[in-house]
């Protein structure tokens, strides 16, 4: 044991110490904020619970999008910058079906069927957009240096955003309310919004399904094999192209559903709506350890909860006014902190540095 400590001390450089001090400073400030908030009792217990539930449901959406980032990253080692916009494509297209169904009254008379149909349409749209993007923008560049596909992905992101702006217009469309999901319900004595409950349940179910797919099916095994080593996998008879396409389909389908859920929570769709959730979800994927499927889920929920709680819990305790404006600062600070203390993310142990 003492050998280990000695080795550790030898290897310790002033950089690590400075970086840790930096991280510790942020932590201390956060703790002071929390103490201040609790001491002053700005919010009731009820309100805190609301924050947490909102955080979990938002986190569920982040996690679903983050899975798309992480799956693609695990296999291609590229940031699919356009993934947030693939999410938007599903949500925005789903809106038109929702509006039509609402117009004919089916939306509220058969809510479950309507919701399934809308999700199906959103999924299909997202998948189609993702497949076209993969085919046109990413596949020809598989062997290019890493900056090149990154720029293509940024280009694809703009292209998708402004394509949908051209197709559907630049207005903010109000997503119709589904009557059975309006209002609150009681779960274990907790009063929570029905929409949030729906989102939390659905996102957890989907994630469990995805995890099972990746872990226990043959296709999932092939996916993990390709993530491990493309060349060896192809020698073992895995069709690498096929697996990559599958990965994009899977990620996009989840993003499409996440889009509908997001629209149900925030009740509006817009051509630019994918940008911020996209970045947040990528942040979540990195927090959890990019390339790691359970990590993305964990990262999503953690990020969602921190974002919901952070402004009230930490910033208001520090005496910062209008703290909700700074929730993105909380998200990115969390990211920096996690990376300072765990450079590969919370669960990303297997991804060795050389791969990154």
């Amino acid at each position: 044991m003492s050998e280990k400590i000695k080795y550790f001390l030898e290897r310790l450089s002033w950089v690590d110490i400075m970086v840790w001090l930096f991280g510790l400073a942020i932590l201390v400030i956060a703790v002071i904020g929390v103490i201040g908030s609790i001491h002053n009792a700005y919010y009731t217990k009820e309100q805190w619970m609301d924050f947490v539930v909102f955080g979990i449901s938002q986190g569920g959406v982040y996690a679903l999008i983050a899975l798309g980032y992480t799956l693609v990253y695990g296999i291609l080692f590229m940031i699919n910058f356009a993934h947030g916009d693939i999410f938007m494509a599903g949500a925005f297209t789903g809106y038109f079906l929702a509006a039509k169904l609402n117009q004919y009254g089916i939306y509220n008379s058969h809510p479950i069927i309507s919701l399934l149909l809308i999700m199906l349409l959103a999924m299909v749209t997202s998948v189609v957009v993702a497949l076209i993007t993969e085919r046109v923008a990413y596949r020809p560049l598989r062997k290019a240096p890493r900056l090149v596909p990154l720029i293509t992905a940024i280009g694809a992101s703009f292209t998708i955003e402004y394509t949908f702006r051209g197709l559907y217009g630049s207005g903010v469309e109000a997503y119709p309310d589904m009557k059975i999901f309006v209002g609150k319900t009681s779960v274990f004595g907790l009063r929570i919004l029905k929409v949030h409950l729906l989102v939390i349940i659905l996102s957890i179910l989907l994630m469990a399904g995805l995890y099972a797919y990746v872990q226990y099916t043959k296709a999932g095994k092939a996916m993990r094999a390709v993530a491990e080593d493309k060349d060896v996998a192809s020698l073992m008879g895995v069709d690498v192209d096929r697996v990559i396409v599958n990965t994009f389909i899977l990620g996009a389908a989840l993003a499409g559903i996440a889009g509908v859920l997001y629209a149900l929570i925030f009740k509006q769709v817009h051509f630019f709506m994918g940008f911020i959730p996209g970045i947040k979800a990528f942040t979540a994927a990195v927090v959890g350890g990019i390339g790691n499927v359970p990590g993305a889920m964990l990262g999503g929920f953690i990020l969602g909860i921190f974002e919901a709680l952070g402004p009230g819990l930490i910033l208001e305790g520090l005496g910062i006014p209008a703290s909700y404006q700074l929730k993105d600062v909380i998200a990115f600070t969390l990211l920096v902190l996690v990376l300072i203390f765990r450079p590969t993310g919370l669960m990303g142990e297997r991804l060795s540095e050389e791969k990154v």
Partner: protein, 550 residues
């Protein structure tokens, strides 16, 4: 027989593809929006967009089969691809009476249908549209079956003519615009101008093709000692370039000078980010943070408004803007010292967003103005004279670029520059060779940030008031894209890149809605066709070609 079948099958496939692309550009609204811009007489950019979306597919397809198929079959296939492409687009006005496309697609409506059908009603008009598509396909087949030299020359001339027509407004904006009047219509080129440009382009091709061998042989043969001919020529070209650069704003007028100024500011930033990304290989997506810090420092130190704290002049404040950015570069560099690749990218992106959100927040509003920003930033004085108009600023920015380029160049050639590049190639090997990674990384961040700070300072003084909204992620992405489009690590590439990504969109302002779409599409196309950039470093180019090639 089998290959025949596949030929026609793939012709149908390509026709469908052409139709899909045509439908896309129609529904996105490109055709309709571009219809307002005449390029050659009555032919609008909208028409050209449609023609191009069928034409590119047809050209690529036919060109692929150029050697193997007979001319007659090529023509038939061209007609098929063009006609089928047009038919798919024509389905829109034909079915519009039964289907309400407008519910989903905002641009679908009577105006679009009548545009597509030449105002002749759904049936006759659609037939005409299909006929136009088929004829266009035949025309392309004819061009494809020309001898190689003439084929390339005609295609090139066609594209050049469109470009000149599109940019013809530039000529009228110039102070010597009257010289071009005879060739211009109310908008765009007139027939005479178009024919002239087309002819000139072909003539130039013909001339350069028949001149080349003689010239190069001569150059090798006559190389006297002392000041060689090529050196002399380079000096003359350099002097001429200097005169042109110095005189440009006087020639271009106020608006185009403003465009050039934006290009210039992005060039300064690009030179800085080039140090971080191009030399040191550190992917930074939050570069706008330093631009914002430079601008806010300038604003706070010089503003004559309520937020100004020092009422300094521009010249006193500039060093501080640069210093603040530099220190911020080091501070933000420390936590990311241990991060690599994409982790670095997302964290720096986060930093950029944090700076913007803080600038926007109510919390810091008493200090830096929140969403209302900092107003009343004075213009730089110069010996009793005020640098005020875009034309004046052009020279200020030119000096800025000069200094930035000089510093960047000297840095690259220095020991530090070589250390950066060694680190870019392989961190571990560089460290083993005795390079201090910490110092090397932090200096890269510091120098990169200082350039951005300079650009921010000039920007603040140029626009006179700054708002948090001017410092969004888009700027970081723009700067990163422009150095990659220009060629990573290449200094002339930075300038070419900013001309292409900042200058051109600025000129396409009137298509504001579609600027970003075109920007995105061209980024993709650029990376697919020319991943090494317009003006790559020679080494980089070789590397990239090898990697992409296999």
């Amino acid at each position: 027989m089998d290959s025949q079948n596949t030929f026609w099958k793939s012709a149908v496939k390509n026709g469908l593809l052409a139709g899909a692309i045509g439908l896309y550009s129609t529904l996105v609204g490109l055709v309709q929006a571009f219809n307002k811009r005449a390029v050659i007489e009555q032919l609008s950019l909208g028409h050209i967009t449609l023609l191009l979306s069928w034409g590119v597919v047809a050209y690529v397809f036919l060109n692929h089969h150029r050697e193997s198929e007979s001319k007659g079959k090529l023509i038939a296939a061209g007609a098929l691809v063009g006609g089928l492409g047009a038919f798919l687009v024509a389905l829109l006005p034909m079915t519009a009476q039964w289907v309400d496309y407008h519910f989903v697609f905002v641009h679908a409506g009577p105006e679009m249908y009548s545009l597509l059908t030449f105002g002749k009603g759904p049936w006759l008009g659609s037939a005409m549209l299909v006929a136009v598509g088929a004829l266009w396909g035949i025309l392309i087949a004819l061009v494809v079956s020309l001898p190689t030299f003439w084929r390339d020359s005609v295609v090139k001339a066609f594209l050049i003519t469109i470009t000149v027509g599109l940019l013809s407004d530039l000529f009228t904006g110039m102070t010597i615009g009257w010289m071009f009047q005879p060739f211009l219509g109310v908008e765009g080129l007139n027939i005479l101008g178009a024919v002239l440009v087309f002819g000139l382009s072909i003539a130039y091709d013909y001339w350069s093709a028949h001149r080349k061998p003689k010239e190069s042989a001569e150059a090798v043969a006559t190389e006297p000692a002392g000041v060689t001919k090529s050196q002399l020529r380079r000096m003359v070209v350099g002097a001429l370039a200097l005169v042109v650069v110095a005189g440009l704003p006087l020639l271009l007028g106020s608006y185009l000078s403003h465009v050039l100024n934006m290009v210039g500011l992005y060039t300064i930033m690009g030179l800085g980010l080039n140090i971080v990304v191009g030399y040191a290989g550190l992917l930074d997506l939050g570069y706008v943070a330093f631009f914002a810090l430079g601008a806010y420092t300038m604003g706070l130190l010089t503003s004559t408004g309520p937020l100004g704290i020092a009422h300094w002049t521009f010249w006193e404040a500039v060093p501080f803007s640069i210093l603040v950015a530099m220190v911020a570069g080091i501070l933000l560099g420390v936590p990311v010292l241990r991060m690599r690749g994409d982790y670095l990218a997302i964290v720096t992106l986060g930093f950029g967003e944090i700076i913007r959100i803080l600038a926007l927040s109510n919390w810091l509003k008493p200090l830096i103005g929140g969403a209302q920003g900092i107003l009343l930033i004075p213009k730089p004085p110069l010996f009793g004279f005020k640098i005020q108009t875009p034309i004046h600023f052009y020279y200020l920015i030119l000096v800025g670029i000069g200094i930035a380029a000089f510093v960047a160049y000297r840095l690259r050639e220095s020991r530090l520059g070589r250390a950066w590049m060694a680190m870019r190639e392989d961190e571990d090997v560089a460290e083993a060779m005795g390079i201090d990674l910490v110092v090397t990384k932090l200096t890269a961040f510091a120098f990169g940030a200082s350039f951005s700070g300079l650009a921010g300072a000039i920007f603040a003084s140029y626009v006179g008031s700054i708002f948090p909204h001017s410092f969004n992620l888009l700027i970081s992405i723009n700067v990163l894209s422009l150095i990659i489009v220009g060629g990573v690590g290449s200094m002339p590439g930075v300038f070419v890149g900013s001309l292409a990504l900042v200058g051109l969109p600025e000129l396409l302002r009137e298509f504001a809605e579609y600027r970003m779409l075109i920007y995105g599409l061209s980024l993709i196309a650029m990376m697919l066709l020319k991943p090494e950039g317009f003006w790559p470093e020679p080494i980089r180019k070789r590397e990239l070609r090898e990697e992409v090639g296999d």
